[in-house]
């Protein structure tokens, strides 16, 4: 876990890095600015943009693990949505008994209860991810067809088990008292919880970027995405790395599930498989295996969904398909294609 290694020879000034690929970065503000005249109403635009960013961050939480797992081991887990749903439902174990902590208007008590719920959800989904990897995925490495079928089967079983454990009905999940309501910025109303979602998502993204760029584990993950065999030839066990990433990705999906559940304020067993559609679109747009692409893709998809949901509500979901088509026409391998051996 050594961090920044500084053995840079000082003799020659290092050449400037090649300019990073910045074009996809501009898509997010471009989309937001394009929507402004169409919506026409500035406060409404602010509200929609914040809502879009919040949703995008939550989708990013759920998608990031999936895209890394795919990049590292060429495994696409169609059952990833199960972790989202299980995460949200697990949180009820804490949130429902601690209702009185949540209903007091005290930020500290609210945060404590919520933090505990998130922690439990992440631990449970992390463990579940470990089991899932062992039982469901390990026997079908390298067989795409079987992977798709098996993980789909795993999703069905997991969803049904949620019904068995938590009963067949929806579970209402009210927001903690101090996160309810909105902040008024000028004329625009911005819901507090959305700001929190943005903050959490940003924090996770920054932490993830730091890990991937500054730590040896992160370097190994990036190297493994590109050429796993060579990582092994250098003496590292890629399977261990993969299990670690899988567990971390599952835990993040669990975190995303709690956030998403609180956002919708109601939990259904199908919430995981429902969110998988935008998640898949996001990782395709971003370039399978790329965390940065996944982040931008998530913001684009969520903004698009919110804007079109306001402008032409009936075709909101179809708009994401159009977005995907447009981006793939521009870059057939996604925004940030991952170099493969």
């Amino acid at each position: 876990m050594s961090t920044t290694v500084q053995t840079i020879p000082a003799a020659e000034a290092p050449l400037p890095k090649l300019p990073a690929d910045y074009k996809p970065l501009l898509l997010v503000p471009a989309l937001a600015l394009l929507a402004l005249p169409l919506i026409g109403d500035f406060p409404a635009w602010v509200t929609l943009t914040v809502a879009g960013l919040a949703m995008g961050m939550m989708i990013f939480l759920m998608a990031s693990g999936l895209t890394l797992v795919f990049g590292l081991m060429d495994v696409l887990n169609f059952g990833h949505g199960a972790f989202v749903a299980v995460g949200a439902f697990t949180a009820t174990f804490v949130l429902l008994p601690m209702q009185n902590w949540l209903q007091v208007d005290s930020v500290v008590m609210n945060l404590a209860a919520l933090g505990l719920a998130i922690l439990l959800a992440m631990v449970v989904t992390g463990c579940l991810g470990w089991i899932f990897e062992r039982v469901i995925i390990m026997p079908v490495y390298g067989q795409h067809l079987k992977q798709i079928l098996i993980t789909m089967g795993g999703l069905i079983v997991a969803e049904q088990l949620i019904h068995v454990v938590w009963g067949p009905d929806q579970i209402p999940l009210p927001l903690p008292a101090s996160f309810r309501g909105a902040i008024i910025l000028g004329e625009a109303a911005v819901e507090k919880y959305r700001l929190i979602a943005v903050a959490v998502g940003l924090a996770v993204f920054i932490a993830m970027s730091l890990v991937l760029n500054r730590t040896k584990i992160g370097l190994l993950i990036r190297a493994g995405v590109e050429n796993g065999e060579m990582v092994e030839a250098l003496g590292y066990r890629i399977r261990r790395l993969f299990v670690g990433v899988f567990v971390a990705g599952s835990a993040l999906a669990g975190l995303g599930g709690v956030m998403w559940g609180l956002y919708k304020e109601v939990l259904t067993a199908a919430m995981g498989s429902e969110i998988m559609v935008p998640v898949f679109i996001v990782i395709i747009i971003g370039g399978l295996g790329s965390v940065g692409g996944c982040f931008i893709g998530a913001l684009l998809v969520a903004l698009m969904a919110n804007y079109t949901g306001f402008l032409v509500p009936k075709v909101a979901l179809a708009s994401n398909i159009l977005l995907m088509v447009a981006i793939l026409l521009w870059r057939p391998q996604g925004l940030y294609p991952v170099a493969k051996r």
Binding site: S2, V5, T7, I8, P9, A11, E12, P14, L15, K17, L18, K216, L219, L220, R222, A223, V225, E226, N227, E229, M230, V231, E232, A233, L234, G235, Y236, R237, I238, V338, A339, R341
Partner: protein, 245 residues
């Protein structure tokens, strides 16, 4: 010099339905540079990959430094002291030159003195230290691949056709690097098709054809005997080119 560092005995390797190695017997003596020659498809790359554990032998045994490594996993084999430079170089193009070397130094950081020694024969790596490896030229990537294999001292270095597709000037700097390496403790097993490149470097030589070793002996013997060259390497592209007027 006489003691064997690596020994393959009757190794058979199958890839899918194809029977590639058909009983390879190969001994690499400790110290010095052993060359593995042979035409395309003779099984040279498969031999290296079998040693590395990237493919497993279906029969026969591979022993390294007194241990049996036939069934060991690739990371274990690497940790036992074998470094590998694959044919496609296996560079992590998304990572910088520095990060590539950091990963190869398993005990933390690359040693400064060792790095300076490497920079001595591969100055380009110093120049592009913080640049993404994907932006390097083919020759520079090859240098990085070799540097990555030697950034920590290893007992055995496997190199798969390093001169493939490189300009003559760069081939010369690789020759210098291998000369330099030969002065260290490291034993080298070098796979080549380019006989001119290895004739002055090699101490001993083995020639493969159709998944078997068909000749092995000191390099001096093969280098002297044009008739033997003709017979063993007559099919190889370089020998063919040599014969052209």
């Amino acid at each position: 010099m006489s003691e064997a560092l690596l020994r393959l005995a009757g190794v058979h390797t199958h890839i899918g339905q194809y029977h590639i190695l058909q009983g390879v017997d190969l001994t690499v003596p400790k110290g010095g540079l052993t060359v593995l020659l042979g035409r395309n498809g003779a099984g040279k790359t498969t031999t290296l990959r079998t040693i590395m554990g990237l493919w497993h032998a279906s029969r026969g045994s591979v022993s390294f430094d007194g241990q049996d490594i036939t069934r060991r996993a690739t990371p274990d084999i690497s940790c036992a002291g074998i470094a590998y430079v694959p044919e496609n170089m296996g560079i992590f193009s998304d990572l910088t030159v520095r990060e590539n070397l950091v990963l190869a130094a398993r005990r933390g950081e690359p040693e400064r003195a060792r790095l300076d020694w490497i920079f001595g024969f591969f100055p380009a790596l110093k120049k592009f230290w913080n640049q993404a490896a994907g932006t390097l030229s083919g020759g520079q990537k090859q240098m990085l691949a070799i540097a990555r294999a030697i950034v920590e001292p290893r007992k055995l270095l496997l190199v798969d056709e390093p001169t493939k597709g490189l300009a003559p000037a760069i081939v010369q700097s690789l020759i210098n690097a291998f000369r330099e390496l030969k002065s260290t403790e490291t034993t080298i097993l070098l796979v080549e098709q380019n006989f001119n490149f290895v004739r002055s470097l090699g101490d001993s030589v083995a020639v493969m054809d159709d998944g078997r070793i068909v000749y092995s002996g000191p390099m001096a013997e093969l280098a002297e005997d044009r008739h033997l060259q003709q017979r063993l390497l007559g099919l190889s592209l370089d020998a063919h080119q040599q014969r052209l007027p």
